[in-house]
Amino acid sequence: MATPEMHPELGREVPVGSIDKELHKLWAEDEARTNASLMNLAVYSEAPGALEKNSAAVRELTAEHACRAILIGIDRDAPETSIRAWITAHCHLSHGKKSICCEQIAFALTGKATGRLRNTVFAHLASDLPLIFWWQGELSPIFEDRLYSLVDRFVFDSSGWVDPCSSFARITEAIANATRPLVVQDLAWTRTFQFRVSVASLFDDPIMLSALSEIGAVEIIYHPAHRGSALQLLAWLAVQASWSDTVELPLAVPNHNDSKACFSFESTSGKTILATLVANPDSAPLGCLTLSGGEVSASVSREAGSSHVIRRIEAPGHFVEAPGPADPDTCADLIGEQLARGGKNSLFRKILPRFRSLLERQ
């Protein structure tokens, strides 16, 4: 009998038709290990070499989120048609004693075999557990209703999208057309989470809350690779504060150039709010949000690479400064944070139309 081929990261290569049998054997080899699973986590990528990279990311993720991981590597342009599969387990010591393991199945599909993605991959889901589908990169033709209708939570990162306007149109269409409630999760939105929590905590202060109607200027400094996060943060502020879009005002600076964009809103009391988005290559993904008006100024700021943000309120006779946690920078860590929070992400759906309108105003 031939020795199964071992891949250093993906584990043992197995025939696609024997995956379940081989998984069973994998567990039988060591009875001391505990198989844990709270969800199916599918990770999809069309980038070369993504399987290995994603396997490493899943290993980190499974330390906190027990799952059956299904990695999918796709090469649609390959001339040959093939499906290969590997199985392995990611194990972690729980409290330094018990070995908790999560199984992983990796698929590489090439050529015309990519059309068999749905049947091949989804035959290996752990039953009764939700399916979290992490899509990496641009939305390709494979993103269609027969795929997303099987998914409970669809995770993507819009920050790298070349044409976010049209891709978000497809996401919106998917939400409307999915045959089951589809929760969509943009990691660009997840990157704004701790900034949003910090802003909310600033307005727990009665001085800030009473000054909300005085806010006349917003500035968001961001890293150029994370413009989408900055726009989503602005869309959230506008929606939650009930600021309506206005006809663009004549401004002292150009409305939009490579590093700066300006928007204007109107509050419910008729006050104009000028919002400036400033790209800075030295910034953290989100570097600083400043809200000012009247004699009050509040900010949430983060140095690049820092693990925390600083929340600050300055008003006459009132100064508050406090640290808070920052969002992680890597996609895998962001996914981990998101999985820990769960929820239906209804707030994202609420701000999505406004965000799309801001995208189109650029």
């Binding site: 505990t34 844990a36 709270l38 499974t62 330390a63 906190e64 989120h65 027990a66 972690h92 729980s94 409290h95 018990k98 908790i100 701790q194 949003r196 929590v197 910090s198 802003v199 909310a200 905590s201 600033l202 307005f203 727990d204 202060d205 009665p206 809350l209 009473s210 909300l212 502020l237 939650q240 504060a241 009930s242 693990s307 925390h308 600083i310 929340r311 309120i313 006779g317 009132h318 100064f319 508050v320 400064e321 406090a322 640290p323 808070g324 946690p325 820990a340 929820g343 209804s346 707030l347």
Partner: protein, 510 residues
């Protein structure tokens, strides 16, 4: 006006900025639990900006000395580690105030100091007083807080008090303390802390019962045979705790508060809502429904008390209870107690609740086990040997928090043989993220004005009313029930086993 940015961000009550004043600030609780809990809340971003800590204690210390001592302990015990940058910012909000607990002038200076801190660092005047001192100072602290006007909050602000256990030593002292507390603070501003209720599994009890449709229909005397609550400790009177413990005992130290709280959560009716009073209304009904014993004979028939004798725990020799440091050699304080309780309600009629708590037992474990009735005596029960054991649902409170269900399965093979098997859920296996410490959750709730996980006055007093019957029988009757003995490192006295054997039951083996 509500904060529009809070929508959908956090599914819990919102904590408000305040100054936390800790009485007994140089003590172990402050250094090991309270300040690390507040630090971890800051790390997790749960703490609102503007929260300040002011330690109040008798020893002379500067702010810097106080901060240094807290930092040293935080490095050792903080759940999420210690970050120098965060601590540097965090410690700016920590201050120290020296005063005797009995000195009114010290409280007047405290009031001025709080105002000054608010002026300097920005604060609207919310105060959370945490009484973590020795219990003999509770009265003085509360009385002087009132005398200094600190019980009254400024317009639009609040003043709340958290009181640590022991909340009285019997019904009379609890009532007296409650009178003092309620003369100083309104009941809605009084938070009697029981850290067991802040534990994840204790909170999960209500979720298990009321968010899963499969359990509640079975949660009654028709299907449940008995319920056991065990709190086992493998420690004795180390670290000089014999002095306190010998005045208290297992019944007052653990059963009156922690274990009766767990019993309430297991046995209560579904609350009408999840509000603090909605939940506590149902919990207190359970305590009120406990069958009372009005004679020493009835107490003796239902309660076993015991002290450990010299033995071995974890392979090490340990002295007997009466030989422990700071314990009276003729002490009649119990280090172990086992009770058979009956709850006289429609739901629980005829179902015994067995509670046991002991020191120097073989291991540390707190759990609730729900033992279901055996299936009817036909089919498999008619086989030789019958069905091996009924279904048991176990809720592990600590350590290794989780839930398991024992059921019966056929052993593979050509013959029909049955064996019990266990389905097990471990928090640590399914959720890799560590749970917050109980004090983190409870402090946050107090800042948010959510008293759901704190004991209400009537709960505390009803629990003491029940416990007092037993204490009177033990210490004031002419014919007190005997004090049993057990060897340290064993699971308690044989009398406790006999208590259950009389009902045809046995203690669950942990």
């Amino acid at each position: 006006m509500t904060n529009p940015f809070r929508e959908d961000l956090v599914s819990r009550s919102r904590p408000e900025p305040c100054t936390v004043v800790i009485f007994g600030a140089t003590g172990d609780l402050t250094h090991r639990k309270l300040v690390p809990a507040i630090y971890n809340l800051a790390i997790d971003g749960e703490l609102p900006p503007g929260v300040k800590i002011l330690g109040f204690a008798r020893r002379e210390k500067s702010d810097a000395e106080f901060r240094k001592g807290l930092e040293e302990l935080n490095r050792k015990v903080s759940r999420s580690g210690h970050d120098d940058t965060i601590w540097a910012s965090f410690e700016e909000s920590i201050h120290y105030h020296q005063s005797e607990f009995t000195d009114l002038a010290g409280y007047q200076r405290l009031a001025a100091r709080l105002d000054e801190i608010d002026r300097e660092r920005g604060g609207k005047g919310n105060r959370l007083f945490y009484i973590a001192s020795a219990p003999e100072f509770f009265d003085d602290i509360l009385t002087h807080l009132k005398a200094a006007g600190l019980n009254q909050a400024a317009e639009g602000c609040w003043a709340r008090v958290i009181v640590e256990k022991p909340f009285g030593t019997d019904l009379a002292t609890a009532q007296q303390l409650n009178e003092v507390v309620n003369r100083t603070f309104q009941e809605k501003d009084t938070y009697r802390i029981d850290h067991y209720l802040g534990k994840e599994t204790a909170q999960n009890l209500m979720v298990l019962r009321f968010a899963n449709a499969i359990f509640e229909p079975l949660w009654n005397s028709r299907y449940i045979d008995q319920i056991q609550i065990t709190c086992a400790e493998n420690l004795g009177m180390e670290g000089g705790r014999g002095g306190y413990y010998d005045k208290s005992g297992a019944l007052r130290d653990m059963v009156q508060n922690h274990l009766l709280q767990l019993l309430s959560l297991v046995a209560m009716e579904p609350p009408t809502d999840l509000s603090a009073d909605g939940v506590r209304d149902e919990k207190v009904k359970v305590i009120r429904s406990l069958r009372q014993w009005d004679s020493p004979e009835k107490v003796a028939a239902n309660v076993i008390r015991a002290q450990y004798h010299a033995g071995h725990v974890d392979g090490k020799p340990v002295p007997g209870y009466r030989e422990e440091d700071r314990v009276d050699p003729e002490s009649m304080t119990e280090s172990y107690v086992a009770l058979r309780l009956m709850i006289d309600t429609w739901r629980w009629s005829g179902v015994p609740f067995y509670i046991r708590m002991g020191k120097q037992l073989p291991k540390k474990a707190t759990e609730i086990s729900v033992h279901f009735k055996a299936p009817p005596g036909v089919l498999f029960n008619a086989l030789a040997g019958g069905v091996p054991g009924g279904n048991v649902l176990v809720i592990r409170i600590q350590p290794d928090e989780g839930i398991s269900l024992r059921m019966v399965s056929k052993i593979p093979g050509t013959s029909l043989r049955l064996e019990p098997v266990k389905m097990d859920f471990h928090y640590s296996t399914s959720f890799g993220k560590s749970s917050p410490e109980a004090y983190e959750r409870l402090l946050l709730d107090a800042m948010a004005g959510d008293a759901t996980l704190f004991a209400r006055r009537d709960e505390v007093e009803e629990a003491w009313r029940f416990i007092d019957h037993i204490e009177r029988a033990w210490h004031q009757s002419e014919n007190p029930p005997p004090m049993a003995g057990y060897v340290a490192g064993t699971w308690g006295p044989k009398e406790a086993d006999e208590l259950l054997q009389a009902d045809g039951h046995v203690w669950r083996r942990l």
